[in-house]
């Protein structure tokens, strides 16, 4: 059964399919907002197939094993994270106390692999992209963690499943976490390296950032990892901030899909209405506005927890 979970549902196959479809949805919304037609539904899959069939060039002077392993690690980490997140009911497949931290760390691993990939590529643009990756990590990671931990404080649990259950029984308290939700949506935009925080792979400045030297199937796996990360991050936000579950698992699953669509739609709007900001502006923004906002949320949650008889 574990193998089925891992490979088919909700593991690799399901996540890949949903990831590709979400990439399509994101691109389509982006295109429609720009008054363009946008890609057909199979475009992301076609891109992956094309990439896989292309010649793979590994740069001279790099650690070849690491070059090949990094994309797989990124994909594996992003895929693993889904098992601890509640999807069709408020119980995740696996859960233990503290799994929210594990999920967050599993979601950090892809970023670290991007950094290593860039650093290992032995190319100027990839190197700069790698450094930017890390700098960006230090700016969005703290608000993201604080934003996600604030609801956990209120639920007094470090397990995603328990947090979901808590909010299912106390639905009005969801509204309290709206500032944290905003912080997290913005921070996730940074995590997924999308406009206005696509600084590490800003094509007009440093070509493709960390991925400059990647081609063929390795690049395809990185693309899959990014798509998976997109879905997992949306699922995480949905589970923590919009914990709406019904008894019927099938309807609950449909609700889950709707939640992911809504979150990705919001992310797409963010992407289309802003210009890319500079690294130092990003760091300033995250530490000056996002982190204090998340901190305030934590304080408020702790205070409310003291007042309310929970």
């Amino acid at each position: 059964m574990s193998i089925f979970y891992l490979l088919v549902f909700p593991g690799f196959l399901f996540l890949s399919a949903l990831g590709l479809f979400m990439e399509y949805f994101d691109r389509k919304v982006y295109a429609r907002m720009q008054n363009r037609v946008g890609p057909p539904w199979y475009q992301p899959l076609a891109d992956i197939i094309k990439l896989v069939s292309k010649e793979t060039i590994i740069p001279y002077d790099t650690n070849k094993k690491m070059f090949a392993a990094l994309p797989v690690i990124a994909l594996a980490a992003a895929t693993t994270a889904i098992f601890y997140i509640p999807i069709w009911s408020s119980h995740a497949l696996f859960s233990f106390t503290g799994d929210i931290i594990v999920v967050l760390y599993l979601l950090t691993i892809p970023t670290l692999t991007f950094f290593l990939a860039g650093w290992n590529s032995n190319s100027l643009f990839a190197g700069i992209g790698a450094v930017r990756n890390l700098t960006q990590l230090f700016s969005y990671e703290v608000p993201l963690y604080m934003g996600l931990l604030a609801p956990a404080f209120l639920a007094s649990s470090w397990s995603l499943s328990e947090i979901s259950q808590f909010y299912t029984t106390h639905p009005l308290l969801i509204l309290l976490n709206i500032p944290a939700f905003i912080v997290c949506i913005i921070a996730v935009q940074g995590k997924l390296e999308r406009v206005p925080f696509d600084i590490p792979d800003a094509e007009t400045e440093i070509v493709a950032g960390s991925f400059t030297e990647y081609s063929g199937r390795y690049f395809a796996i990185f693309r899959m990892a990014l798509d998976t990360e997109l879905v997992v991050a949306a699922t995480l936000l949905a589970a923590v901030f919009i914990p709406v579950f019904v008894a019927n698992p099938f309807i609950s699953f449909l609700i889950y899909l709707a939640k992911v669509f809504v979150i990705i739609f919001i992310l797409a709007i963010f992407r289309s209405v802003m210009a890319r900001i500079r690294m130092e502006q990003m760091v300033k923004f995250c530490w000056r506005y996002l982190a204090p906002l998340a901190l305030a949320q934590i304080i408020i949650n702790i205070l409310i927890k003291g007042v309310l008889p929970l």
Partner: protein
């Protein structure tokens, strides 16, 4: 003026419902305007072989050849589309107006050798 990010959002959301501005060429036909200068049209009967067009062609793409046997005057116009810059100067300078520009623009080819064509009246 107050500055805030995402000022374009109203316009962007409004576009979600509107028709896309993209022309789906080649699935849909591309419409060129009436005044477009495309491929040339050549009327061999009206041509006197003065070769003013050859003289003025900036790209040296056009050639008027007399193919008639024994001093008979039958002219052919050879045009190298690979060289032609579609300026229409030949049509302007032609005293008999036997060269005309048309709207035809779909001249792309994957084989260079097909670019050298013998113009005929359409």
């Amino acid at each position: 003026m107050r500055r805030y990010p995402g000022k374009i959002i109203k316009e962007a959301m409004g576009n979600l419902n509107s028709k896309a501005a993209t022309n789906l060429y080649p699935a849909a036909p591309s419409i060129v305007t009436k005044g477009y200068r495309g491929k040339l049209n050549y009327n061999s009967k009206a041509c006197t072989g003065c070769k003013l067009c050859v003289r003025d062609c900036p790209a040296k793409a056009i050639e008027i050849v007399n193919v008639g046997a024994d001093g008979e005057k039958i002219f052919e116009c050879h045009l190298d589309l690979g060289h032609c810059i579609f300026c229409g100067q030949c049509a302007d300078v032609c005293p008999k107006k036997c060269l005309k520009v048309t709207n035809e623009f779909e001249l792309a080819t994957t084989d260079k050798s097909t670019l050298n064509i013998n113009l005929k009246e359409v």
